[in-house]
């Protein structure tokens, strides 16, 4: 059963509780930041910043807030390109990076359409949102969702959240937000993060029509079956080699005794 996080941007007041709670739970250090003309800080996700809040100011003088973190795509580029199999999709729909398996090649960093994974300069491992897998597997909600003061972040069964999002968008449209829409229903075959927006996704800093390159897709096609074929082939080769060697040996022994 797939689980997801619902981000209701209309309810968000940009307190950044999610940003701090994520750092505290996941034991991520805080780096020094500086003002670069936008309240979005740090300006991008980092190997030790898995979650940040994007502030966008519209021409009408309104603020748009969007919590931004790993989207946990159903068809995730990072899972498909990782040559070490270090990124996997768990049964509850979390795209989970295994730091012990990561070789720091950076393929996921190149291919992610959301620019979520980053390589740590100190440990040379990829760092990104783990969906708080150790919390959710114990029946707790992710740290960012737990701390959210006004229910802008919710965690639950994906289909139920999608239904809830549709009702919310309907009610927002009735309240006069004609542009209200859902982001994440079908993008990348369904994201693990569903956004309720009142403007086009681009206005919130979310990529419209995210996709990953053909090379990642070919890699995915080739790696899984060929990798297995290769390992099975190697094993059977070893068995055959052993049998032949043993057969030869028995024959030679026979020759000697006779």
């Amino acid at each position: 059963m797939a689980y997801a996080v619902l981000v209701d941007t209309k309810k968000c007041m940009a307190c950044r509780g999610c940003q701090v709670a994520c750092k505290d739970w996941n034991r991520l250090p805080a780096g020094a930041t500086k003002f670069r003309g936008s309240y979005t800080n740090p300006p991008t996700l980092e190997a030790h910043t898995w979650n940040h809040l994007i502030f966008s100011e519209t021409d009408q003088g309104r603020w748009l807030f969007a919590n931004y973190a790993c989207m946990h795509c159903t068809d995730a580029a990072c899972v498909n390109v990782c040559p070490a199999g270090a990124v996997q999709r768990t049964k509850n729909g979390t795209v989970w990076p295994d730091p012990d398996k990561c070789i720091g090649c950076g393929l996921c960093v190149q291919h992610c359409p959301f620019h979520v994974p980053h390589l740590s300069k100190t440990t040379n491992k990829m760092g990104k949102c783990t969906g708080c897998a150790e919390r959710t597997s114990q029946g707790l909600r992710p740290a960012c969702v737990t701390t959210c003061p006004n229910g802008a972040l919710q965690y639950g069964e994906r289909n139920a959240l999608l239904q809830q999002a549709k009702e919310r968008v309907q009610s927002l449209r009735e309240q006069g937000f004609a542009q209200a829409n859902i982001y994440g229903e079908n993008e990348m075959h369904g994201l693990g993060r569903i956004y309720i927006l009142t403007e086009r996704p681009a206005a919130y800093g979310l990529p419209e029509n995210p996709c990953y390159s053909a090379s990642a897709w070919i890699w995915q096609l080739a790696r899984r079956p060929l990798g297995k074929l290769a390992s099975v082939g190697l094993f059977s080769g070893l068995v055959v080699g052993f049998l032949r060697w043993r057969g030869d040996r028995i024959q030679h022994k026979g020759d000697n005794t006779m």
Partner: protein, 194 residues
């Protein structure tokens, strides 16, 4: 069962093909352990703004490991904003290079005293600070104490005020109010003037 060489190759080939087509599920979900399993929960109140949100401190082996919102608290019902969510960092910060927890080096753990008209802070010990506060309170109270006003017994001082806090818990508020009243202080206020 007797297997000839030819049959063995056939079987191996079929098994390999089947494994590829069906795709054996070698990758299982990782097993996660929960950091707060053996933690002792201690409730506290967020020290920052006047809302007074409740928080739970998780203590393992006498060390603070995590702080989160208290779901049973009527004010915040489990939520914490960025200031409240950073409560753990008053005590522990994570090293930027190694990610290891360490004591917050910016935390004040000594009494600092700046004399009137001075520009520098001087380190003092607690004994000195407590004595000085007590002396000043006694002095001010003795100077300004009123026994009677308009023929009514008041026994009060208007020269000292006390500013309480929404970030204190019930017991602390009770003790502070008791102390202030016993000194005759009537100007008691609270920073949560919402």
């Amino acid at each position: 069962m007797k297997v000839t060489r030819r049959e063995f190759f056939k079987l191996t080939g079929v098994a390999a093909l089947a494994a590829v087509v069906v795709g054996c599920d070698w990758e299982n979900d990782p097993v996660f352990s929960h950091r707060l399993e053996d933690a002792k929960e201690v409730t506290t109140i967020c020290p920052y703004c006047s809302c007074g949100c409740g928080a739970i401190c998780y203590v393992v082996g006498g060390k603070l490991v995590s702080v989160s919102g208290d779901p049973d608290h009527p004010i915040n019902e489990g939520a914490l904003c960025s200031k409240g969510a950073s409560l753990l960092n008053l005590n522990t910060v994570y090293n930027l290079r190694t990610h290891d927890p360490e004591l917050n080096p910016n935390r004040l753990d000594k009494v600092l005293y700046r004399a009137p008209y001075s520009q520098t802070w001087v380190e003092k010990n607690w004994r000195w600070a407590m004595d000085r506060i007590a002396k000043k309170v006694k002095e001010t109270r003795d100077e300004s104490f009123e026994r009677q006003a308009d023929g009514i017994t008041v026994n009060r001082t208007k020269a000292i005020a006390h500013l309480g806090s929404a970030a204190l818990d019930n017991e602390e508020n009770y003790l502070l109010a008791k102390l202030m009243r016993s000194l005759g202080i009537v100007n008691m206020d609270h920073h949560a003037r919402l």
